[in-house]
């Protein structure tokens, strides 16, 4: 009898201990779950921050001060070219013969080509490149006109000068746009 009683008591005690361990184990599991969820949430937000930081919008190339300076210098050179031609020469006595201006035409065409190539290789720079293409196209066209006629009327000089002033204004506006796009921290 005593033997059965003690076995019964032992069994009851064992079940009690087992139940108590199970209860503690459940609490620990729940705590682990909460900690894991918090960790995963933090990890997800950290990944989102990393993703957001790499998703900055880039629609324009980076600003290049050297190109800005070249735009200004080339604009001034062309303006001086036509203004000098208008003020210091005339159509009489081959004063405006093409050969008198060949060197200047070449020098300026080299600058315009250089501007075009520098813009072409920059990524996201389709608009500024097109402005340079148009400018070079006009330069070559008006140079050829001068070459074929071997002279240049005052009226055409005025028109040419106005055309390049306007084209370089457009070029400067585009350049300022690129500077503006690079002005906020990326």
């Amino acid at each position: 009898m005593n033997h059965i009683y003690w076995c019964n008591m032992m069994l009851k005690a064992s079940i009690k201990v087992f139940k108590s361990n199970l209860y503690n184990q459940n609490i620990m599991n729940q705590q682990m779950k909460i900690r894991t969820r918090s960790f995963l949430s933090i990890l997800m937000v950290a990944c989102c921050i990393a993703a957001i930081s790499s998703c900055k919008v880039n629609l324009l190339p980076s600003y290049n001060a050297a190109i800005s300076e070249q735009i200004d210098n080339t604009a001034k050179t062309i303006d001086k070219f036509y203004l000098s031609m208008l003020e210091t020469t005339n159509t009489e006595n081959d004063g405006r013969s093409f050969k008198n201006f060949t060197d200047k035409y070449v020098e300026i065409e080299v600058e315009l080509n250089s501007l075009l190539n520098k813009n072409k290789i920059r990524p996201l720079n389709k608009n500024s490149t097109r402005i340079c293409e148009i400018t070079l196209q006009f330069w070559v066209k008006y140079k050829e006109e001068h070459k074929v006629k071997n002279t240049l009327k005052d009226g055409l000089i005025l028109l040419n000068r106005k055309t390049f002033n306007d084209l370089f204004y457009a070029m400067r506006v585009a350049d300022e746009g690129i500077k503006l796009g690079n002005s906020l921290p990326q």
Binding site: S38, S41, I42, V45, A46, C48, I49, I52, S53, C55, K56, V57, N58, L59, L60, N127, S128, R130, I131, I134, T135, Q137, F138, K153, D154, G155, L156, L158, L159, K162, T163, D166, L167, Y169, A170, M171, V173, A174, E176, G177, I178, L180, G181, S183, L184, P185, Q186
Partner: protein, 108 residues
């Protein structure tokens, strides 16, 4: 970890509006200047033709050139517009990034 979505969206919209409003005047004034340049150019062209300083072929050729000049000016305006759009988008993204960083700091 709490992010007030409504407040965040309001802040992002304010950032976008502030960026665009400040720069829209620049686009408008530039577009006006382009139009003024075209007007002056056409007036000069017509005047030179009337005075006989250029012949009809030269007039027609220079008139045709005006189309390409307009194309160049539109390209310039496109760059300005892209700059404004880029700045507006990145201003909004900066607000979002800041809110996310604040939330994660609070959680840790």
């Amino acid at each position: 970890m709490n992010i007030d979505i409504n407040a965040l969206v309001t802040d992002m919209l304010s950032a976008i509006k502030g960026t665009v409003e400040g720069n829209w005047e620049k686009v408008e004034s530039t577009a006006n200047q382009f139009l003024q340049n075209r007007k002056e150019s056409l007036q000069l062209l017509v005047q030179l033709r009337i005075n006989g300083d250029i012949d009809q072929d030269e007039f027609d050729s220079r008139l045709a050139d005006e189309k390409l000049i307009v194309e160049a000016e539109l390209n310039a305006l496109a760059v300005l517009s892209k700059a404004i759009a880029q700045n507006a988008a990145n201003a909004a993204i900066a607000i979002l990034e800041k809110a996310a960083k604040a939330a994660i700091s609070a959680a840790i």
